[in-house]
Structures are given as structure tokens and as C-alpha cells.
Amino acid sequence: MADIVDSRYKIIDQAMRKLGYEKSALLEVLHIAQETFGYLDRDALKFIAKRLKAPYSKVYGVATFYHRFTLKPQGKHTLVVCLGTACYIKGAKEILAALETRFAIKVTQTTNDNLLSLLSARCVGSCSIAPVMICDNKTYGKLTIDETLEKIEEILS
């Protein structure tokens, strides 16, 4: 199949095979695809739908229900600011606002140079060190606005 040229499709196909092409495995497959591609575009979703023999509308409906899945490519670095209760109480909103101003993007957007995507989460379970952000899968806690901006500059440079 021409579709499978891309080796990443192979990874997803293997995962589906392992799951026996079960329709109920849709979420598992989407997780794997999200991890492999970094996002889920329509081509990937259609590939999955065909393989699982699931309707397009169903796959799309599921993929857009769960906020873990993103349908657009992310920047080179992703920054997730936690907006859970504990972080909110400790000023996460102000940190997010500062980041939005600094990079001139709104949450869920990516900078024009594709360097940074700004995301938010609802509690990542590290509330005791609130406010928390996760940058490229590493967690940082007890942040102030200045520290946050400093950290990001460091990561981006």
C-alpha cells in the first residue's frame, strides 16, 4: 500500500495489528499516533479509520472529543502551563498572561517561527509545587513569572 511508505505509518499499523484491529482500541491507537506524529492530521486519521474499519465521522468525533489529541502540528518546543486549582490559586493565570505577551501568541497557538507552542492543562498532579509548567515533558514547579520567562529563554536558545 502506498500509504505505508512513511515509516511512521508502519509503527501505527504495527500497533493496530498488535491490538487485533479492534474498533475499541481506537483511543489506544490515537495515543500512539499522536506520540508518533506529534499531532493527528486528516490523513493519519483516515488511515486509522480504514484499518480499523471505523467510520470517518466516528474517528474524527473521538479525536476531537479528547483534548489530549491535537489536530495541528506543534512547535519545536511545547510549553504546558497548568491551570488546575492549586496552580490557579498560586498565580498560574498571571504566568500564562506573561507568556502570552512575551511570545505574542494565545494559549493553544504556536509562534510564527514554529519554535514554541503554548498549551494549558488542568492539573498535572504536581499541585504541591504549584504553580507548575511542563516544558518538553519536563516538569518545573514553584515558579514565579520571572523564573518562568528565564527558563523558557534558556530552553529556546
Binding site: 479528547y66 489530549r68 498535572v124 504536581s126
Partner: protein, 539 residues
């Protein structure tokens, strides 16, 4: 394969004599909070430093789960087998490693960073569910077994009948820790009584309350306890398959649980013919996808089945029509982790902890404006004052307490006049909030309650699945209304609408999310009405 209690004990003993040669342990907290401060680096460096000094035959370095005082992480404890003495060190950073190891070499304590374990934070806790947290290595099933793990399961499988197990759980009075507080024994019994070839046990590890991390810590610190509870539940309800639904935001918990399952399978503690008892049970992990509503029972089922996480109208209840249409028990992580201790010590023992209607202990995640943020396990019936001021060390930054929020987006605020309220399901309900899953947020005088209500409503709005009108549109309308108060542009008519809408959303929504979404608004109106009135412009 372990087939009998005897073999299990042998393994435990063997592990213990192993332990005997190693007379000391350095237990590094590798809970999420500590890891984000570099605990894994610290663990690695400690190992190297111990080896460099040739101490590895005397002192072992191991990673353990969260022991509660996350605010002062990274925590490292030094345990001596001979004296059972345990010295806790706090705020350990990489720079401490050499000095710490040197002090161990010299058999001295590293006095610079000793954490006083005689403080109320530790002494007022009762650890049942978290008994192993911070002590055992969550990556090692043998460590769990050496600390008495799975012995209860073997006892249950060989000596008890399902009805006995259910009876014991009923006697214990255990109520669900996921928020609703439904009696666990009764839930199990209703599934036990249904005739069906296939039944399921589902463990709810979605932990959606944004400001709570009890279940996360539990799964990371002692995953086998959760498995043991689940297997016992399976035996009691005659189910053969279990699923643990964990939020994808908890990768470490997922990893720990998955490893635990593999290890248990290898020893024959999961799979066919567990311990030669004729009982089959296996467990799989399913990942959530960033949808709070999937903590709701019917939505969680839909999600495991690979669908959009839309709840459905009950009845039928899960006990009649659950996963794949089969009878299903859904229990919270902490509920299930209580089970091994209940069957080990008996329902009566458990019943004597806590209050008559809220038995046992509860884990709380203390956060917000409080000195000792972290996890604590306390007997039910303890007062808020004890929890906040004695265990929690009081409000941080010398500010005054304004309110305590429990139950997350489904709960409410408790003003300071109720500080002596006993923490149990019924007392919390009587003041307009709920026990919830254990998130406890301390709010100081500098916070605005309308903004807090808005925060929760906005959360519910973005968490709403959108299936039913009152929740989908109502949470949006309420969020917009609250914004008017924050901008101080509300009118008197808005206030009536705010109250009326809250009532309708609560009374007509399809599932628990919508039915409880207005609670933070209603409870802040009840106790802090003046802050709403300040948001009304006078013209």
C-alpha cells in the same frame, strides 16, 4: 509461579534475609513532585557515590513513592534495619549528595537537612492506604511481598467465599473514595448477585479534580496494593477481567501500574488459576485523553469501549449494564487500595477507625495557601482545624484563612466559622460541600471568591461533554454571567438569573458533571454573597 501462601512467605522471607545483609537503605522519593525537582538525578548520584565509597553492600539506594511532604522535597530517608530507625532528610539537592553519603559512611546523621518527624504533620496521620508509600520500591513486587503484600489475597482465595469477602467489606462500612461515597460492599453485592458469564472490575484512576493527586501518588508509590484490591474485588464479584483507567497526564503512574501488572503475571498472581485456586483474573490499563467527564461512570465505560466520552442516562446502572453491556463494578483507586487492609485486619477493625457513618481514613491533597502542601492520610472525623493548622502548619505567608474548598468543581467552600467541623461525608454535606475525592484547597484572605467560582465554572464549561442542553449551554451562560461580576458590570437582574440558572442546571442536567457544576457558585453565594453584590454596578 507462586501457588501457595507458603511459597509467598518463602519469597518474602528470602527477600527479608536479603535485606538483612544490607543493613541500611537510602530511600529517595521518586514521586512526581520530587522528580520534577531532580529526584531521579539525586537517586543516580547517590548510587554512584555509595559505590564509589564501597558502601553498596551495607547500604542500598532505592527509589520510593511519595511520602507526603512534597513541599519540602526532594525527600530522602535513611533507614537502619537493625534499629528500624528512619531518619528523614528534606530539601535534598544534588549538592547534598556527597555530604549525605559521607555522613552515612561515618555513621552520623546529616544534621543540616534533618526533617523533624515528630512534628504534627507526621504524628497526626494514620497510614493505612499509604502504609507502604515512601517505604517500598514500587518497581519491585518482591519488596511489596516482603512487606506483607499479596498475603491477604492468598488467604482470601484459599480460605474465603465471595460472600464472606463481601460481608467483611460491608461490615467495614467502607464508602467509595471517588466522590459519591456509595457503600462499597453494597456495590459489590449487587454485581455478585447478577447472573452473568462475564463481569468486570474497573478501577477509576482518572482523577479529574484539578487540584488533587491522591490517586496519582498511590499508583506511583504502591501499585501492587491497587492490584491486590482489584483482584480481591474480582474474586468477590466473580469477575475475571479488570481494567484500570488512568489519565494520560500521569505517565509515571501508567508506567508503574504496567510494570506491576507484568510482574504479577510472571508470579502467577494475575492470569489463570491464580495461586492454584481455580480463580482467573487479569488486568489491563486503558488511557484517558484529557477529558474530566470520563471520570463519570458511564462516560468512563464509553471511553474504554473506544468512543466519545459521553455519559448516558442511568438507570440501567453499571451493575446491570456496564462495560460491553455486562455487570460491572467501578471503584476508585483509593477505595480499592483499602481492601487488602480490611480483609487482613477485618471489617470490625476498619469500622473502629473514623466515625460511625464514615469509617476508615481518607487521603487529602493539601494545596493552595497552606504551609505544608502535600498528601496526608487522616482518620475520618478529624476536624478541619486539626487538618489545616496542626497537620498543614496553617496558612502560608502569615495571612489569614478565608475558606477551604473541597470537592473540586463539584464541591463548595467552607468558611472559617466551620473550622471545628468533623471531616466526614455527612458533615461536609450539611455545610453545602462534599467530601469529593480528597482535594483540599486552602484559600487566604487575599482571594476573591467570585473569581474562584468563575474558575470552577469555566472548568466545567470546558469539561462539559456537550450532550445535554442545561450543562452545555448553562455552564457557558453561567461563566459569562460570572465574568460580568468580575468586571463589576452585573445588574440586580443578573443576580436573580445567576441563582435561577444554577438551580436549573443542577436540577436538569443528565450526569453528575452538570448536576454539580453550579455547586461552587451556590456555595460562594451562600457564604460570601457580599462579594457578588460588589460586582453589581449601581446606576
Amino acid at each position: 509461579m507462586i501457588t501457595s501462601l507458603l511459597e509467598l512467605e518463602e519469597l518474602a522471607n528470602c527477600k527479608r534475609c536479603d535485606e538483612a545483609s544490607i543493613v541500611e537503605e537510602l530511600r529517595v522519593c521518586i514521586g512526581s513532585s520530587c522528580v520534577s525537582r531532580g529526584a531521579d538525578e539525586i537517586e543516580k548520584n547517590l548510587k554512584t557515590a555509595i559505590e564509589n565509597k564501597g558502601l553498596q553492600n551495607r547500604c542500598r539506594v532505592k527509589g520510593v513513592g511519595c511520602s507526603g511532604l512534597c513541599a519540602n522535597g526532594t525527600l530522602v530517608s535513611h533507614y537502619k534495619n537493625s534499629t528500624k530507625e528512619n531518619t528523614l532528610y528534606e530539601e535534598i539537592i544534588l549538592d547534598d549528595v556527597d555530604a549525605l553519603v559521607a555522613s552515612i559512611e561515618e555513621q552520623k546523621s546529616y544534621s543540616l537537612k534533618v526533617c523533624d518527624t515528630n512534628q504534627l504533620f507526621f504524628t497526626k496521620q494514620t497510614k493505612i492506604v499509604l502504609e507502604n508509600a515512601g517505604i517500598i520500591d514500587p518497581n519491585d513486587i518482591e519488596d511489596y511481598i516482603a512487606h506483607g503484600g499479596y498475603a491477604t489475597l492468598f488467604h482470601v482465595l484459599h480460605e474465603m467465599m465471595p460472600v464472606d469477602v463481601i460481608n467483611e467489606v460491608k461490615i467495614s462500612g467502607l464508602r467509595g473514595r471517588g466522590g459519591g461515597g456509595f457503600p462499597t460492599g453494597q456495590k459489590w453485592e449487587s454485581v455478585y448477585k447478577v447472573q452473568s458469564d462475564q463481569k468486570y472490575i474497573v478501577c477509576n484512576g482518572d482523577e479529574g479534580d484539578p487540584g488533587a493527586f491522591m490517586d496519582r501518588a498511590l499508583m506511583e508509590a504502591d501499585p501492587h496494593k491497587v492490584l491486590e484490591g482489584m483482584i480481591i474485588a474480582g474474586f468477590a464479584c466473580e469477575a475475571t477481567k479488570g481494567y484500570i483507567y488512568v489519565r494520560a497526564e500521569y505517565p509515571i503512574a501508567v508506567e508503574k501500574i504496567n510494570r506491576a501488572i507484568k510482574q504479577a503475571r510472571k508470579l502467577g498472581i494475575l492470569g489463570n488459576q491464580i495461586a492454584h485456586s481455580g480463580f482467573d483474573f487479569d488486568i489491563e490499563v486503558r488511557l484517558g485523553g484529557g477529558a474530566f467527564v470520563c471520570g463519570e461512570a458511564t462516560a468512563l465505560i464509553a471511553s474504554i469501549e473506544g468512543n466519545r466520552g459521553n455519559p448516558r442516562q442511568k438507570p440501567p446502572h453499571l451493575s446491570d449494564y456496564g462495560l460491553w453491556g455486562e455487570p460491572t463494578v467501578l471503584n476508585n483507586v483509593e477505595t480499592l487500595a483499602n481492601i487488602p487492609s480490611i480483609l487482613k485486619n477485618g471489617g470490625e477493625w476498619f469500622k473502629n477507625i473514623g466515625t460511625p457513618t464514615s469509617t476508615g481514613t481518607k487521603i487529602f491533597a493539601l494545596t493552595g495557601h497552606i504551609k505544608n502542601t502535600g498528601l496526608v492520610e487522616v482518620p475520618m472525623g478529624i476536624t478541619l482545624r486539626e487538618l489545616i493548622f496542626e497537620i498543614g502548619g496553617g496558612v502560608s505567608d502569615g495571612k489569614a484563612l478565608k475558606a477551604i474548598q473541597t470537592g473540586g468543581p463539584s464541591g463548595g467552600c467552607i468558611p472559617t466559622q466551620f473550622l471545628d467541623l468533623s471531616i466526614d461525608y455527612d458533615s461536609l454535606k450539611s455545610v453545602g460541600t462534599i467530601m469529593g475525592s480528597g482535594g483540599m484547597i486552602v484559600i487566604d484572605e487575599s482571594s476573591n471568591m467570585v473569581e474562584l467560582a468563575h474558575f470552577f465554572m469555566d472548568f466545567c464549561k470546558s469539561a462539559s461533554c456537550g450532550k445535554c442542553v442545561p450543562c452545555r449551554v448553562g455552564t457557558t451562560q453561567l461563566t459569562l454571567l460570572l465574568e460580568k461580576y468580575i468586571a463589576k458590570e452585573a445588574t440586580q437582574a443578573n443576580f436573580e438569573l445567576l441563582k435561577e440558572l444554577s438551580k436549573v442546571v443542577k436540577g436538569t442536567s443528565l450526569c453528575g458533571l452538570g448536576q454539580t457544576a453550579p455547586n461552587p457558585v451556590l456555595s460562594t453565594i451562600r457564604y460570601f454573597e457580599s462579594e457578588y453584590l460588589e460586582g453589581i454596578k449601581n446606576d
